[in-house]
Symmetry: C2
Subunit: 334 residues, 2 copies
């Protein structure tokens, strides 16, 4: 069973519950606990067909954590919040993993506080699979650990490596440190010191990667501090929206462009699908001792369903256990 924190995100609980239904229709063995205000959730399930409905379980939560609450404080205070209850289900083993579209800060805080960290992991990292030309590339961290120590960056790399091998299916993923130049001398003290950790050669470390290399998939795993990753990820989303609005505005003004657009719709749809977070699904919070997947705050049903799929795969492929084992034993290749 997976726990879905049903109250988080801009479109909860309507779209979160619709996403859960969609996922249960897709995966016929899947059971989902919908954690949240059961009075609000129950009516959303009335039209669900019986074989799906019986795999959806209501778990009532008295309160929820809003997007704009100071996350650490809210997680500590609101012991009856849907997020804490969903996380507790993971901790107790009642659920094998959980998904939330709530605020990043709250998910990270609750993950560390309630689920706990994998022994040996100092700080968790949120890794987002980014579409690059001809591949999926993971950017980690995008906001779990705002400022990092060198060891944190190394551990992000290690966890990203496991994720890319086990979940995405990439052999010997290449790892790059995001920096202001490819040369060894580039970067600040943090980056230069982090490089020392890679010298044992257990990971396929390729050195520094520049910002310009990301869209070309310069590395399978691109490692950076949470502050940088967050700024970059939001910039990507914002740019997509800005370009979309600019193109639409231009097309409204120009007749020929409008005609041209008609011919191009199939192509643009394909391109869009490659860069659309709804397709790539959720973002794993790596380093906590359970499968915790963050869905985008603006997720609609399809994106929630995608995040549930990611959680399911992460559980089935023993993502957490693999990280723990490789950390404990030293990474074994092949």
């Amino acid at each position: 069973m997976l726990a879905l924190e049903a109250m988080g995100g801009d479109n909860a609980p309507g779209e979160t519950c619709a996403g859960a239904i969609m996922a249960c229709e897709k995966f016929t063995d899947l059971e989902i606990a919908l954690v949240g205000d059961s009075e609000a959730i129950a009516p959303l399930l009335v039209n669900t067909c019986a074989p799906v409905r019986k795999r959806l379980h209501l778990v009532h939560a008295e309160e929820k954590i809003a997007m704009d609450e100071p996350p650490a404080v809210a997680v500590r205070k609101k012991r009856g919040s849907s997020l804490r209850i969903a996380m507790q289900m993971v901790r107790s083993g009642e659920a094998q993993g959980c998904v939330s579209a709530g605020s990043t800060g709250a998910i990270v805080a609750a993950g560390v506080l309630v689920v706990g960290r994998i022994p040996g992991i100092e700080r968790p990292g949120l890794g987002v699979p980014l579409p690059a030309v001809n591949r999926i590339s993971m950017l980690i961290d995008i906001g779990a650990t705002v400022r990092c120590k060198p060891l944190n960056l190394f551990q992000f790399a290690l966890m990203g490596d496991v994720y890319m091998r086990k979940i995405i299916g990439v052999d010997s993923p290449s790892i790059g440190l995001l920096s202001n130049g490819q040369e060894e001398a580039k970067g600040d003290e943090l980056i230069i010191e982090a490089r020392e950790y890679f010298k044992n050669g257990r990971l396929n470390f390729i050195g520094n990667v520049e910002g310009g290399g990301i869209p070309f998939g310069a590395a399978d795993v691109v490692v950076c501090e949470g502050l940088t990753g967050n700024i970059l990820l939001k910039f990507i989303e914002g740019t997509g929206e800005a370009i979309y609005s600019l193109i639409r505005e231009e097309i409204d003004r120009r007749f020929l462009a409008k005609m041209g657009m008609v011919f191009m719709v199939p192509m643009l749809k394909d391109l869009w699908a490659r860069f659309n977070y709804e397709e790539t699904g959720g973002t794993p919070l790596l380093g906590v001792n359970g499968a915790v997947i963050k869905a985008h705050g603006r997720s609609r049903a399809r994106a929630i369903c995608g995040a549930i799929r990611v959680a399911r795969e992460f559980v089935n492929k023993r993502g957490v256990q693999t990280i723990a084992e490789e950390l404990a034993e030293g990474v074994k290749r092949g």
Copy 2:
């Protein structure tokens, strides 16, 4: 007179000299010193018409600094390099400003070492005018000061404010600190401490700005550390290239898209012009005691000409003096 360091960049000296010729054709009062290997440069000027040719002066330099040399060391050792000689011309007053398409690190090092800083400015900042929806927004710093102290960020804001008012012509430019969220609590210690400097209210400070706000022009001046700014800027360039290559590849595969493209060319050209660095020109190294403009390393003639135009304007509008005055007196508005 402006000094053009003619040997820096991927297309030097052919394109740098062509850019200088273009600029002299455009501005009939402009004189340019071409600093570099005079044997290589002289032949490039033979077909230039007399009224332009007489405003181009050759200043010989024995050596040059390559893109991949460790910048600080190279600037110290190569006293006869074209970059140092161009900068010395600014320092001595022989040239009113200089332009180079050489490596960022070398330009920053030579700027600080040879031209010197404006009294009171602790670290220089490279500010790039970024096209956003409906406006030009300045991102500062993009790589002059990799890691910053809170005071550095504040001084970037102050210099960006002067640049936007004097050169771009924006009244009371809004200033934002690039962070992982808009809320006051977001950011790390650096950002939170930097905010203190803005409390005197002299600048139009609007608080934190997210990465997603940049393409929408969330602030006229977006302030960040050089590491972050550099990663972001290179990411922008890389994304443009990646999208361009993807679209071209898709269009080659699809007949209808190819037809559609024909209708869309005028629109795409306009959009491209808005986001093309060749149009926006050079990047001012703010905080050094002279007009120093960095052109893109890949600049062709048109971009060099744009950078020269920026240098000329910066000189004519007394950019350096204004920063120095406002820093000394306290910023006076209106």
